[in-house]
Symmetry: C2
């Protein structure tokens, strides 16, 4: 067909600044509360966990933040990432829609996660920190931070949810190859872990628990060890903006502009990364792109959760933030998209959804895998189970455009590859996958699961 | 440091023609012999296994061969691949050398193999073939051909060496996800397989045996099924020339020219792909780049094998070719670089090595993994065990340049990623790896293992 397929930017096109939606958002950020006092936290409290540069970004209203040259130098190893027109997928669907995907899986860690891992490792390093802790579920984030820490010669302890640690030995070995230590959480290394093991020696772990362990280690290190998180926090979303900034240039090369931009959401970082630069164009330049966050029906934080104050972790050690939540005690069903199994949602994504600036849809995992396999067979890339949710929503858009006889320009974020998720594909092909949904009873119980917050006290 | 790191070509820079070293090589190709009559084969004989377009390429002396537009369209999904200056590796080694690597692991299949898989599937498809067979060892080739066949809607049966089939379930699932059928060889689907199973029901299989099974199925299909091979044959080397052609442009962007070009060799395809365009510049334009083929000490085909006529497979069903060989009955030691475990070497590589146009070195696997981990920690990419051999040779060159105080420009082919090889990295880190070498006794026994060929009869 000899049409332009791949829109390639050069090294000079890597963004020099991150974009911060809080500089344009009409919604002021809600305060972050101390998990014990339930009063607004001070930067000093947060500085136990994070270096000051990241705390400043967390609360910044600057529209653009310079990317340090040292971070740009590492971005050059894999950015800009490709934007590709999915001609074969369009043909398979028989749709008049034009489908584009941004592929973050060419990064060393295989997903978008490394965009913030590099930045977080760098800011910790220049503030004198030599050692980080974090948690990981499926392992995408732990892998990314392991690579980033090896670049800056920093130590890293990863608390990996025990059932994933056992199910995905390759992810653990990958982190170890880059020099990280990986522990099956709950461990006997923390009070939180020991208490859980005393209660249930066979506890399979959870993301909320692993967060609590990693946070505890940092909090008790007398400032020697900091904690790093791969999503949810605003500075993470800021770092991911490189994705959307590159897409704006690449869509321009394609001489098109997206009618709809799609990303999957767990904590919200890859969706924000691709969507917020387009939201800026909506807010400031009158564009009308629909921004669609895709979550699993097994953890329908936006579509069925409450917009309320809640703890970031199960152990109530992390700060309380205002977000769409299913309750910090929510135990997500064992879907294969481990990166989407979180009870909450980035406060920034939550507030913009609540105010109607972004849309959301929840999809079941079997349809997501079906779309993922169709995509693989058409485009050659095996997607991560998380990314399959974005693909499925893009396919639905393309079929809707077909039904309506509309040309529609669809852009989605292919956040990572599925090379470590083949057991999930096998389960799908053997028809061993189940769909999960929250019961109405559970949804009705959420208010009782949330912390009691004195809103007057916060306002004062 | 703000130096140029990544040399990015655009879609327009994808080569429009493959390069055929046989148009420039001073050494005429030796004849290919029938495995039973031991006389030169006819194109008709080969046409049982391959479509005529590929047979024509196999014997062509045209310097350039047009890449069909339909193949270029698929190349656009992932080509051009990046060329990257390894600043961090240089720094870790403290070398004045400049190290560049061409990274083929960003392709959908994760290695260079797909460059020829697409072409072979395409030529079979347009000649009316709907079904292919092949063998695979470690799984890189089977994965690549599975993806290519899904693009052209063709059926594919892959005979996968049984021990790899059992050790690497993820590779098998990957092929199945793209629609291929994958069988543990020896199978009960062929005479060769049944005979082997009758002799030894627990036979772990070998690449030579899997080739025999795949060839048998094609040979007995009355022309309905063709056979496809991922290395060794000359048309495969031609297709891989896109790697080196892109490198020539990218080195030009870097304003440097390589003193040495390095690739690992099993059958010889990724090495030829990067090296032969540079060999053309040596032969025609007076350049003096050293071309170094790196093999494992466990299968030292070039450095210790004989340059002689031998069968391409263990079962003596494939044609006899003149090549560097350890004997078709050679059983390689179980090194993790499965792609380098072959008894022979591409005839084109063999003849050029024999005539002194290319160099070779054999390296043990533990040093190769050591270099691979150093590379991963420096550059972020986890290399395939095969590629670790090329990295190790590049590191040796860089350290030699350091010792001699020379600026040396080193280019190597990072042929693929190691996402499916993490068990090997674990074994390395746990010091469970062994080095292997051929014994002198074995090497001395090679002449007795080769077929008797009447050279006068061939000449006539």
């Amino acid at each position: 067909m000899n049409q332009k397929t791949r829109f390639t930017l050069t090294e000079n096109d890597i963004p020099k600044q991150w974009y911060n939606i809080n500089g344009d958002s009409p919604i002021p950020p809600a305060p972050v509360l101390h998990p014990v006092t339930k009063e607004p936290v001070t930067p000093e409290f947060l500085s136990v966990l994070f270096p000051m540069a990241l705390i400043e970004q967390e609360i910044s209203s600057d529209r653009f933040i310079d990317i340090p040259e040292e971070v740009q130098d590492v971005y050059k190893l894999y950015r800009p990432t490709p934007l590709i027109r999915a001609y074969r997928l369009e043909k398979a669907l028989g749709t008049p829609a034009h489908i584009y995907y941004k592929y973050e899986g060419t990064s060393p860690s295989g997903s978008h996660k490394i965009n913030t891992a590099i930045a977080q490792a760098y800011y910790n390093k220049i503030s004198g920190i030599e050692s980080l802790t974090t948690e990981t579920g499926a392992g995408q984030w732990g892998s990314a931070l392991s690579i980033a820490c090896s670049f800056y010669d920093m130590a890293l302890d990863v608390y990996m949810v025990k059932c994933s640690y056992q199910q995905k030995p390759y992810r653990r070995i990958l982190m170890e190859t880059f020099g990280a230590n990986c522990f099956a959480s709950p461990t006997d290394r923390t009070d939180t872990g020991r208490a859980m093991l005393a209660e249930d020696p066979d506890c399979p772990g959870s993301l909320g628990l692993a967060i609590s362990e990693a946070v505890e280690v940092a909090a008790k290190s007398n400032g020697k060890i900091k904690y790093s998180l791969g999503s949810v926090l605003h500075h993470v979303l800021i770092h991911q903006s490189v994705i959307g900034e590159e897409c704006l240039k690449q869509m321009d090369m394609a001489d098109e502009y997206p009618d709809v931009v799609i990303g999957c959401v767990g904590g919200g970082s890859n969706f924000s990364g691709i969507a917020f630069p387009f939201l800026r164009e909506n807010l400031r330049n009158g564009m009308k792109t629909r921004l669609v966050a895709v979550e699993p029906t097994a953890a329908p934080t936006l579509t069925r959760g409450l917009y309320s104050f809640d703890y970031g972790d199960t152990g109530k050690m992390a700060p309380i933030v205002k977000m769409h939540t299913l309750g910090h005690s929510f135990i997500p069903a064992p879907i294969h998209a481990g990166g989407l199994r979180y009870h909450g949602m980035a406060p920034t994504v939550s507030s913009l959804y609540d105010a109607g600036y972004i849309d959301a849809v929840a999809l079941p995992q079997i349809r997501a895998f079906q779309a993922g396999q169709l995509f693989a067979k058409s485009e050659g890339i095996l997607p991560a189970p998380e990314s399959n949710h974005a693909i499925c929503a893009a396919v639905d858009e393309a079929l809707d455009a077909k039904e309506k006889g509309e040309k529609r320009v669809i852009l989605f974020n292919l956040s990572g590859h599925g090379h470590f998720d083949l057991a999930a594909y096998q389960a799908y092909m053997q028809e061993d996958l189940e769909d999960f949904a929250c019961t109405d009873e559970y949804i009705q119980s959420i208010p009782d699961r949330l912390p009691q917050i004195d809103l007057d006290k916060i306002a004062a």
